[in-house]
Homo-oligomer: 239 residues x 2
């Protein structure tokens, strides 16, 4: 059975984003996915990366977070809340992040989930990035809400491209560790629209989640195009 | 006397980013700035936006965070740690954020500082964004460290433009609320270089902070170019 891990973060349980989470889980479940869900706000997930994440340290005098991530994972001494999330992601073919857009990024609690859970070593390391990353073969998708309208985003629009605003997440985080990154689902103008419009957005989300396997993905760099120092390879003409 | 508020976030007190913080504060102080400093990790700043931020609510049945931000600020019932940061920013001509780049963005604790402190109403609202934003007339600057080398960033480079990776922060956050956003200071390849190279980066940072008043700023949208719905104005030819 195909597995999906859904990570949700919103401070208000009755929010529209909560309804998006329910729609995502229901549509995926109905189309044959086995769903696990982490509700970061409800579980009071700790977003602050710190020395307390490591029961035993490789270097006790100076915290190098990525070094201790590798050490802690290898020796099974990493914090249990981190290990539980890593296992769910590794076990799944699909990761879905459901959140309200705060400052063109994730709410801090979800950002801290990335900071703590996307372990150096397991998720990436050295040349193990992009199409050589630890999550190669899996898909990831962002499902988010925002106040802005769609005409405010685009090459000539006031805020530029919305996928560009989210490049730190879509490319710099999800693509970087090897996920095939699906086109995000954006629910625009949410605080200003009526229940009918919100219902239509949830219907649309339901339909799109049922075919997530065929959802278009975003272009990402391929390591073949870069040398050992990550410099672009120059293809010499053959004449 | 010119005032600057420096916000610093790193889990290791002896880190290179801690030295960058000291360099920033020292250089600014020596060049006539009155410096306030918030150390988010040391003060255990809470990064999670929640109902607990509001002593008294406009709507107790359903949390709309931006609505409660406006209500809480107006009625002086917002959490004290938020109010203290807002006052320091409003009081200063310059805001400097000093942090290690985590996933091409801020560590979660600093992201949560933005989520909680950049209040709807005071910082932005309606058409009060970009050059009409609440922080117009002030400058902001990002000082950050990363593992990547400079040749990994640029139009043809593996990760694309580094300022583009940070567009959610530079434009979507700092520019959005009206700051003139200085070119960031990037310390590249920090975990892999020797003490001499690190010292040279700190010397460079020291020199650059002393002339922060004249530092180039990034281009941002101007509201004059957009109509009431934020659509691009079409300038009609006059013939």
């Amino acid at each position: 059975m195909k597995k999906v891990h859904v990570v949700y973060c919103h401070p208000e349980p009755k929010s529209f984003v909560g309804s998006m989470r329910d729609t995502v889980c229901h549509a995926l479940s109905e189309s044959g996915w086995q769903v696990t869900l982490s509700d970061l706000h409800a579980s009071q997930f700790n977003p602050v990366a710190s020395a307390a994440d490591f029961g035993q340290r490789e270097r006790s005098d100076h915290l190098v977070y990525s070094l201790e991530q590798r050490h802690g994972w290898q020796h099974k001494t990493i914090a249990k809340d981190i290990a539980a999330e890593v296992e769910k992601i590794v076990d799944a073919e699909l990761l879905v992040l459901v959140f309200p857009l705060f400052w063109y990024s994730m709410p801090a609690q979800l950002k801290g989930w990335v900071d703590r859970v996307f372990l150096s070593g397991t998720f990436f390391g050295g040349r193990r990035i992009y199409d050589q990353g630890g999550m190669v073969g899996k898909r990831a998708m962002v499902v988010t809400s925002l106040g802005g309208q769609s005409h405010m985003f685009g090459p000539e629009a006031i805020h530029g491209e919305l996928n560009g605003m989210l490049r730190h997440l879509l490319q710099g985080t999800l693509g970087y560790v090897g996920f095939d990154v699906c086109e995000p689902f954006y629910a625009h103008h949410v605080p200003y629209v009526d229940d009918q419009a919100r219902g239509a957005m949830l219907d649309q989300l339901d339909r799109e989640m049922r075919v997530v396997d065929r959802r278009p993905t975003l272009p990402m760099p391929s390591l073949e195009a870069f040398d050992e120092q990550f410099r672009p390879r120059v293809t010499k003409p053959s004449y």
